[in-house]
């Protein structure tokens, strides 16, 4: 790999140190054999057909950056950001490259070199790591949003805000809840119920502030099935926005904050209705726990084993009987959240729940496991691309003519609502837990 066109940029000591830090990923990077199988499933590549948008391109660029075969760190970081972290590539990679590990660490290393923008610093360090301030700020926004937004699609319950298009684009979004979940239910500390189980409940930011009804539904399910709930007050974000933004240290602050709150509560499982929170706690917390106190590392390891999403908890742990209902009804289809299906391997569970619901007929859409294009902060930074990817999802949904689109991830739900609303589709987007809770 040595006979390579030299790059234009001078190699500064800072670049040398960047390359040296990236070289620590060399053992991971080298396992990519450039077969290109990731191109087949990458949603971003599917939309742009640009090699640098696919995993193979990004891994090659990181390898070149670490070997001074290119020195344009900013461009490489820009390419790294054009990734939903959906993990689709990892499911088709024959060499088993640990792609998510590479991307999360590389984002951190290159971000360190380039420095965080002031907005990112404010969001990751000032806001997300301080749940009190974050809640207060969004609480005020919720009260005043009525002044700026107007209805976009009544069936979906979406709004738009033309005054702020420069900031939020032409997005159609669900409004901030007038009463977030944490205001109604700041904390819980119940004994194990008839099931003999006690769980920690991690609602997640989007559930708390946009879809409190999903948190209520989850609590209803747990109580109906005799599960005691432990909910510490003042939980912070799970950390994924900071982690994907390359601010590993802010992510670690959030993890430590949450660990301290979770530590005292003895519980059998940690339950969340958010696919992204579940996969972050289960898969990513252990990956960024280097340097943590042994007790914290131990807790992270036990959370890895205990964390699960509400649909898998219902079927796999509570073993709720879910007979398939025949007889038709309103049409419901299901969108696989990447963080549930590709990270946690949960896909049959939510379907089993939906197929058991009285009054519904389950229909499978094409490419149900293809990413919706949300990617959390991805949609904020690359709205056009996100919309392009989302349109394919919308078209697959529309083709099966459902009355309701179910998902088990609040971030996906927001994206689906936006895409359907933009297309003027009169259908509902609901969390599987909400639909199941209604039958109880």
């Amino acid at each position: 790999m040595s006979e390579h066109t030299p790059t234009q940029l001078p190699i500064t000591p800072e670049l040398q140190s960047l390359a040296a830090r990236l070289l620590k990923l060399d053992d991971l990077l080298i396992s990519c054999m450039r077969c290109g199988f990731c191109l087949a499933t990458c949603p971003v590549y599917g939309a742009t057909m640009k090699e640098a948008d696919a995993t193979r391109g990004k891994i090659a660029l990181l390898e070149y950056l670490s070997h001074h075969m290119t020195n344009d760190a900013e461009a490489v970081y820009d390419k790294l950001g054009r990734c939903l972290l959906c993990g689709s590539c990892q499911t088709t990679c024959p060499s088993g490259v640990r792609i998510m590990d590479i991307f999360l660490h590389a984002r951190g290393i290159v971000r360190d070199y380039l420095g965080l923008s002031s907005t990112e610093k404010f969001i990751f360090r000032g806001l997300l790591a301080r749940p009190g301030l974050f809640n207060a700020l969004l609480g005020i926004s919720a009260k005043f949003q009525g002044l700026f937004v107007k209805e976009a699609d009544a069936a979906l319950g979406t709004s738009k805000a033309p005054m702020f298009s420069s900031f939020i684009g032409e997005r159609h979004f669900p409004r901030l809840a007038s009463e977030p979940f944490h205001s109604k239910t700041p904390s819980l500390d119940e004994a194990a119920g008839s099931s003999g189980l006690r769980v920690a409940f991690f609602p997640g930011c989007v559930t708390d502030k946009i879809f409190p009804s999903v948190a209520d539904a989850t609590l209803k399910i747990l109580r109906k099935h005799g599960v005691g709930v432990f909910l510490p007050d003042n939980l912070a974000c799970c950390g994924i926005p900071a982690l994907s933004g390359g601010d590993i240290s802010a992510c670690q602050t959030m993890i430590r904050h949450n660990l301290n709150l979770l530590r005292p509560g003895k519980f059998d499982y940690l339950i969340t209705p958010c696919a992204t929170c579940a996969s972050t706690i289960k898969e990513y917390w252990p990956k960024v726990s280097e340097g943590f106190a042994p007790a914290d590392q131990e807790l992270i390891r036990s959370l890895h084993d205990k964390t699960t999403d509400i649909t898998a908890f219902l079927t796999d742990v509570l073993k709720v009987s879910l007979p398939v209902r025949e007889g038709g009804g309103k049409r419901v289809t299901y969108h696989d959240s990447c963080h549930l299906r590709k990270s946690l391997g949960v896909f049959s569970q939510p379907r089993a729940i939906l197929k058991s619901l009285p009054g519904f007929e389950y229909v499978e859409m094409a490419e149900a496991d293809r990413c919706c294009g949300s990617g959390g902060s991805f949609t904020l930074k690359h709205y056009d691309l996100s919309k392009n990817i989302g349109q394919r999802k919308r078209d697959n949904i529309a083709a099966v003519k459902p009355d309701t689109v179910a998902a088990a991830c609040p971030a996906c739900m927001m994206q689906l609502m936006d895409m359907l609303s933009q297309n003027g589709d009169a259908m509902k987007v609901r969390h599987v837990a909400e639909m199941y809770a209604e039958t109880l």
Partner: protein, 461 residues
């Protein structure tokens, strides 16, 4: 070498500003393909989206003397899409429409950037069959398949990509569209240039619209797995099956090393002491015929000394039987960082000699190797596992690959069954043929490419 900005602007005028890449990071991402070779950054990349843009892009590049590398998805294993430093990469992956699937006359017309598996699925949705199934089909383009005459698992019965090309339009060095072939079964009105284009590796022109043949799909199939304690017995079985006038649609081989790697990776319960496995599938138009063929195959396996035979009784078991073959490349690829996947091909009867030679060479150079492949085609994939960062080891790998080629040629075989020559094996071409052949092919090339700009440095050099 940076491109002249005025020329870059001209390309933008042809294909649109968004479809021309000159930034460092973008150029770097077109510097490699799946071959284990040094990357070379091109000067510019252009991505036409229509046939007209494709023609104009070729003309502009040729007039300005830019070495031209055409790239579909960049999955080839021979380095044939690694560009020249002062050259242009012309992407065909956005010229990707299926223009027609003709169910009456059993052909389809496609643009070169259509993805193989997506095309096969679209054809299957109409109740028809496009058999070529290269390993990279989920991402490879049909244009790239033709440029490398891609094979796959179904070669023995159904043939390879070239057997499905009925005609095409080729963009020549002037940017003009040349027509060859036809939508008819019979065609004798011109040189058979469509056949010439198969395996031309981007050296003769740029493919545009392609007419491919379709066939009715088999209505029934049956898969079985046979274990052997001796590679020779497996090879005799292959010969015996053909001699019994059964042509399986797939007849795959795994050697002992490969079986061990797969078992270590998957814990699927494979017989790690077996010298070889044959995975055999027969298909046809009628269940009874297929059953009879499967019985014949089993008879041959027993007669040749197979120690154990497993027959799939349903779709699930069939999926399970094929698991070992599906996992062959992943298991080998996961064992070590670098996977050097070769495809030297020998006459079917020479498979045991080839496997023995590969293992002897690996031992001589102290390298890890696993061999799997298409036994019915004599097309083996000796796969050397190494770490390209270890220069001393990689020198041994290169020496071993050279010897593997020597053996393949001495067994009256060929350098490459389906991966192509590209940059990786160009220096070997004269050894397989002779000087006169190289000169002849270069003259042919010069007639179609007077400035030698189409994929210079590949195939015949």
């Amino acid at each position: 070498m940076p491109i002249n900005p005025a020329l870059a602007k001209e390309f933008e005028n042809v294909v649109g500003k968004e479809q021309v890449f000159t930034e460092e990071a973008d150029l770097q991402s077109y510097s490699y393909d799946a071959a284990v070779l040094a990357p070379v950054r091109p000067a510019i990349v252009a991505a036409p989206t229509t046939q007209e843009q494709l023609c104009k892009t070729v003309r502009l590049a040729y007039e300005n003397g830019l070495p031209i590398t055409v790239r579909g998805s960049g999955t080839n294993l021979s380095g044939s899409t690694i560009p020249q430093g002062n050259g242009i990469v012309i992407l065909t992956n956005r010229v990707n429409k299926i223009l027609e699937i003709n169910e009456e006359d059993l052909y389809a017309v496609v643009e070169p950037g259509v993805i193989t598996a997506q095309f096969a699925a679209a054809v299957a949705a109409k109740g028809l069959f496009y058999p070529p199934d290269p390993g990279s089909q989920s991402v490879s383009t049909l244009g790239g398949n033709i440029a490398h005459n891609a094979g796959g698992l179904r070669g023995l019965k159904y043939g390879v990509t070239k057997d499905y090309v009925m005609g095409m339009e080729v963009v020549d060095y002037r940017g003009e569209l040349i027509k060859t072939g036809s939508r008819t079964v019979k065609y004798v009105t011109g040189y058979n240039m469509a056949a010439l284009m198969a395996a031309s590796e981007g050296t003769l022109g740029v493919f545009s619209n392609i007419v491919v043949k379709l066939v009715p799909p088999p209505k029934a199939s049956k898969a079985l797995l046979a274990e052997f304690d001796d590679v020779n017995k497996a090879s005799e079985t292959v010969a015996g099956i053909i001699a019994s006038h059964v042509v399986p649609c797939t007849l795959e081989f795994l050697d002992n090393n490969c079986i061990r790697y797969v078992e270590a990776d998957t814990k699927a319960g494979l017989p790690v002491d077996a010298a070889a496995l044959l995975l055999i599938e027969v298909d046809g138009g009628h269940t009874q015929l297929v059953e009879e063929d499967a019985d014949k195959v089993m008879g041959v396996c027993r007669k040749c000394g197979s120690t154990n035979i497993r027959v799939a009784q349903n779709a699930e078991e069939k999926f399970k039987i094929w698991e070992a073959r599906r996992n062959a490349l992943p298991a080998l690829a996961r064992a070590k960082p670098t996977t050097v996947l070769e495809d030297a091909t020998v006459p079917r009867s020479q498979v045991p000699a080839m496997v023995a030679a590969v293992n002897a060479i690996a031992k001589k150079y102290n390298l890890e190797v696993g061999t799997f492949g298409h036994a019915g085609d004599g097309n083996l994939h000796p796969t050397i596992l190494c770490d390209r960062r270890d220069k001393e080891e990689f020198a041994r790998v290169e020496a071993a690959v050279d010897e593997i080629f020597d053996v393949a040629l001495s067994l009256k075989g060929t350098l490459s069954g389906e991966h192509g020559i590209g940059k990786a094996k160009a220096k070997w071409m004269e050894k397989e043929t002779n000087r006169a052949t190289i000169e002849f092919n270069k003259n042919l090339r010069l007639a179609l490419d007077p400035k030698m700009l189409f994929n210079a440095g590949n195939k015949f050099v």
